[in-house]
C-alpha cells in the first residue's frame, strides 16, 4: 500500500513538473481553407516552423473551401484565431476597414519584405500600411493547343491583331479560336481584365474596379470593342458549361486558346495533354507601349484583431515570407513564390514561364472578383456574360453597370 502511495506521489510530482514545462510552450491557432494538396504542404511548413521555434505550437483548423468564406465573417468577431488565411486587394478591404485585420507593416519593414515582395506589395497595402503577408500566387495567361494550331496552319501570334487574324483561320478549320465556360461567371472576368489592362493600362483598370471611372467611358467601350472581335469565334454555348467542360474542349483540340490560370494545367494534363502539345503565352499586347501588367491572384495570411498571441503570429508571418520557405512551399503547391529571391522548378515550362512573367511584370491585378467589391463584381461578370451572348446590347449593359457603380461605391 505504501508503495502505491509513494508511487502515486512521485507520479503526481512528475505530472506537475511536466505541466510546468508545457506551460512554457506558446500556442498559435491558425484558421485556413486548404484543399488536400496545399494542406499537406502547409502541414510540412508548420512542422519546419515548429522545428525552428520549439517553444511554439501551431494548431491548424482547416475549413471547407466554400464554408470558409462565410465562416470567416463569424470567427473574426467571435473567438478569433491568431492567424487566418484570406486574399489580397479589395477582397481584404472590408475586414481592414472594419478593423478586423491587424496592421503588420512592421513585419514588412523589419524583414526587408518591401523589396523582396515588391510586386505583391501594392495589393497588400491600404492607406499606406500592409495588412497581411502573401505567400503564393499563380499566373494567368493564354493556354493553347499546339496540335490545333498545326491543324489550322497558324503560328503563335505575337500581337493581338495576329491573334484575331488567326481566329478566322481556326474557324475555317472548324476549331473554336477561344473557349471558356461562363456558367460560374468568373472565367470570363479573366478575359475582360486582360483586354482592359492591355487596351487601357493597369492604372485605368484599377481605377475602374475601384469605382473611380464610369463604365460608360469611351475607354471601357474600347475594351469591349476589342472583345467583340473574338466573340464570334468563341465556343457557342459557353453560358451552359463550366470551366472544366471548356478545358475538355481544349484537350480534344476542338478549341485552340483558353484564357485561364495555371491551376488549369493539372486538368489539361489529366485529360491527356503533355508539355509537347500544351503551350502557354502571355496575353499579347494591344495598345503599343503600355507597361505589361499581369493577373496574379494572391493568397495571403493575416492576423485578426482579436488574436491572442500577436508576437508569435508575426514571427510566423516573417517565416512564411522567407525566400527558402517560399521555395519549398510553392514547389509543393505547384504555384509561384511571391518572394523574388525564391527559386522555381526549371523543368516545368509553365511554372518557369509564369515566374518570369510575374517577376518582371509592371504590376499585378488580383482578378476582377477580388479587385472589385463583391456586389460590383457580380454585376460586372453578369454584364460580361450577357455581352458575350448578346454583343449588340453593349450600351444597355454599360448603363446598367454604371447605375450599379453609383449605388455600390458610396
Amino acid at each position: 500500500m505504501t508503495y502505491l502511495k509513494t508511487g502515486a506521489v512521485a507520479f503526481a510530482a512528475a505530472l506537475l513538473m511536466s505541466g510546468s514545462a508545457f506551460a512554457q510552450t506558446r500556442a498559435l491557432s491558425y484558421n485556413a481553407d486548404f484543399d488536400p494538396t496545399p494542406l499537406a504542404a502547409f502541414q510540412a511548413l508548420i512542422a519546419d516552423f515548429e522545428a525552428e521555434n520549439p517553444d511554439i505550437k501551431v494548431t491548424l483548423n482547416n475549413f471547407d473551401h466554400e464554408g470558409y468564406k462565410t465562416a470567416i465573417r463569424n470567427f473574426l468577431t467571435a473567438d478569433s484565431p491568431d492567424l487566418a488565411n484570406w486574399y489580397a486587394g479589395n477582397r481584404m478591404a472590408p475586414f481592414v476597414t472594419s478593423g478586423q485585420f491587424q496592421d503588420v507593416s512592421d513585419v514588412w519593414t523589419e524583414n526587408g519584405l518591401d523589396d523582396q515582395l515588391a510586386s505583391a506589395k501594392a495589393s497588400m497595402t491600404i492607406d499606406g500600411k500592409q495588412w497581411g503577408v502573401p505567400y503564393t500566387y499563380y499566373q494567368w495567361g493564354i493556354y493553347y493547343n499546339k496540335d490545333a494550331y498545326k491543324a489550322a496552319g497558324v503560328e503563335v501570334p505575337t500581337t493581338w491583331d495576329g491573334f484575331v487574324e488567326n481566329c478566322a483561320k481556326f474557324q475555317a478549320a472548324g476549331i473554336d479560336c477561344l473557349t471558356t465556360g461562363s456558367k460560374a461567371l468568373w472565367p470570363i472576368a479573366g478575359i475582360f481584365d486582360y483586354l482592359n489592362m492591355r487596351t487601357n493600362g493597369y492604372e485605368f483598370h484599377m481605377d475602374l474596379t475601384a469605382g473611380k471611372v464610369a463604365w460608360t467611358d469611351d475607354k471601357v467601350k474600347a475594351t469591349f470593342a476589342e472583345w467583340a472581335k473574338v466573340v464570334p469565334f468563341t465556343t457557342e454555348n459557353h453560358a451552359a458549361i463550366d470551366w472544366q467542360d471548356a478545358a475538355a474542349l481544349l484537350v480534344q483540340g476542338k478549341a485552340a486558346n483558353y484564357v485561364m490560370g495555371n491551376f488549369a494545367v493539372a486538368t489539361f494534363k489529366e485529360g491527356g495533354m503533355t508539355n509537347d502539345n500544351l503551350g502557354f503565352m502571355v496575353f499579347p499586347e494591344i495598345t503599343a507601349g503600355l507597361p505589361r501588367a499581369e493577373e496574379a491572384p494572391t493568397d495571403t495570411i493575416h492576423i485578426p484583431a482579436g488574436a491572442k498571441n500577436v508576437a508569435d503570429a508575426k514571427k510566423f508571418l516573417a517565416f512564411v515570407a522567407r525566400a527558402d520557405v517560399q521555395t519549398k512551399l510553392n514547389s509543393a503547391l505547384g504555384q509561384l513564390p511571391t518572394n523574388k529571391g525564391a527559386t522555381v522548378d526549371a523543368a516545368d515550362p509553365f511554372i518557369s514561364a509564369g515566374f518570369e512573367s510575374l517577376s518582371s511584370a509592371y504590376a499585378l491585378a488580383q482578378f476582377f472578383d477580388r479587385d472589385a467589391p463583391a456586389e460590383m463584381a457580380k454585376a460586372g461578370m453578369e454584364g460580361f456574360q450577357e455581352f458575350m451572348v448578346k454583343p449588340d446590347r453593349l450600351d444597355a449593359i454599360l448603363e446598367r453597370l454604371e447605375k450599379a457603380r453609383g449605388q455600390i461605391y458610396k
Binding site: E66, G67, A71, Q244
Partner: protein, 281 residues
C-alpha cells in the same frame, strides 16, 4: 366509377390501355431512367463520348467510388442526424398541440390554429436572416442541432394542422366517458387519445422524414462544412467537384434520393394518407 371501367370497353381499347400504361410510365420516369443508366456507365464511356449507347459494362464501381472517394457517406449520416430528431420532435410537439386544438373549445382556438396553418405557408426567405441570427446567437450555427431546432419549430405548423384534423375525427364519446370518470386531462391524452393516434403518427413521421431529408434551403443557410452538411447541400458542393463527371453525379444523386424512396415504398399507405388528409371530406 369514373372513368368507365376498362373491362367494360371494347377489347381494342383494353389492349391500347394495357400498352399505354407501361409506355406512359417509361416516358414519365425518363429522366430518372436516364440518370440511373448514366450512374452505371463507366467513366471511359463518357470520355469517349458514348453517352447514350449501351454501356460497355455495368460500372458498379461508380457507386463504390462515390462512397470511397468523396464525403457522400458522411453527408448522408449528417442528414440522418438532422432528420430523425426532427421527426421525433415535430411529431411529439404536434401531438400535444393537435390535441389542444382538437379537443378543447376556447375562444382563440381557431385563431391559433390558423396561425399555425398560415405560418406553414410563409416563404422561407422571410425567416432566413432572423433565424440565421438566432441560430448564431444560440451557438448552434453549423451544427445538426441548429438545423433540427428550426425544422422542428417550422414543421410544427404542418403537423399541427394534420394532427388536429385527425383528432377532430376521433369519437369524442371516449373522452367524455373518461372525463366523467374523473380521469385527469393529461392521463386522457396519454392513455386514451395517443394510442388512437398511431396511424397518424406513422403517416406524419414518414412525410416529415421525406420533407426534412429533401430540404435544401435551410441546409445551405444554417450549415457550411462537410462535417455538418446534409446530403442535399453536400450533393450541391460535390456537383461542383465532379464537373463533367456525370457518372459520379448520377450515382450520387441516386444514393441521395434512396432513403426517402425506400421509406416511401415501404410505408406507402401511410405516406399517401398523410398527404391526402383534407383532400377528402
Amino acid at each position: 366509377m369514373f372513368p368507365r371501367p376498362i373491362e367494360q370497353t371494347r377489347p381494342l381499347t383494353q389492349r391500347l390501355y394495357t400498352i399505354a400504361l407501361p409506355v406512359a410510365l417509361i416516358l414519365w420516369l425518363f429522366p430518372l431512367l436516364g440518370v440511373a443508366v448514366t450512374s452505371l456507365r463507366p467513366a471511359s464511356d463518357l470520355a469517349q463520348g458514348n453517352y447514350f449507347g449501351v454501356p460497355s459494362y455495368i460500372a458498379f464501381e461508380n457507386y463504390v467510388s462515390v462512397f470511397r472517394d468523396s464525403d457522400l457517406g458522411r453527408y448522408m449520416l449528417n442528414s440522418l442526424k438532422v432528420t430523425i430528431p426532427t421527426v421525433i420532435g415535430a411529431v411529439a410537439l404536434s401531438c400535444l398541440t393537435g390535441f389542444a386544438l382538437g379537443i378543447y373549445k376556447f375562444r382563440s382556438n381557431l385563431l391559433v390554429f390558423f396561425l399555425f396553418v398560415a405560418g406553414n405557408f410563409v416563404p422561407f426567405q422571410i425567416l432566413m436572416v432572423p433565424v440565421r441570427d438566432l441560430t448564431l446567437n444560440l451557438g448552434m450555427y453549423n451544427s445538426w442541432t441548429g438545423l433540427a431546432m428550426f425544422h422542428i419549430a417550422f414543421q410544427t405548423g404542418f403537423c399541427t394542422l394534420f394532427m388536429r384534423n385527425f383528432i377532430k375525427a376521433l369519437p369524442f364519446e371516449l373522452i367524455e366517458a373518461a372525463r366523467v370518470e374523473g380521469v385527469s386531462e393529461i392521463r386522457i391524452f396519454w392513455y386514451v387519445v395517443l394510442p388512437l393516434m398511431k396511424p397518424a403518427i406513422a403517416a406524419l413521421s414518414v412525410l416529415i422524414f421525406t420533407f426534412i431529408w429533401n430540404d435544401f434551403f435551410w441546409a445551405t443557410v444554417l450549415t457550411t462544412t462537410k462535417e455538418t452538411q446534409p446530403i442535399t447541400a453536400g450533393l450541391s458542393s460535390l456537383n461542383g467537384q465532379w464537373v463533367a463527371a456525370w457518372h459520379l453525379v448520377s450515382a450520387g444523386s441516386i444514393l441521395a434520393a434512396l432513403p426517402p424512396v425506400l421509406m416511401f415504398f415501404l410505408m406507402q399507405k401511410h405516406f399517401i394518407a398523410g398527404l391526402t388528409l383534407g383532400a377528402v371530406k
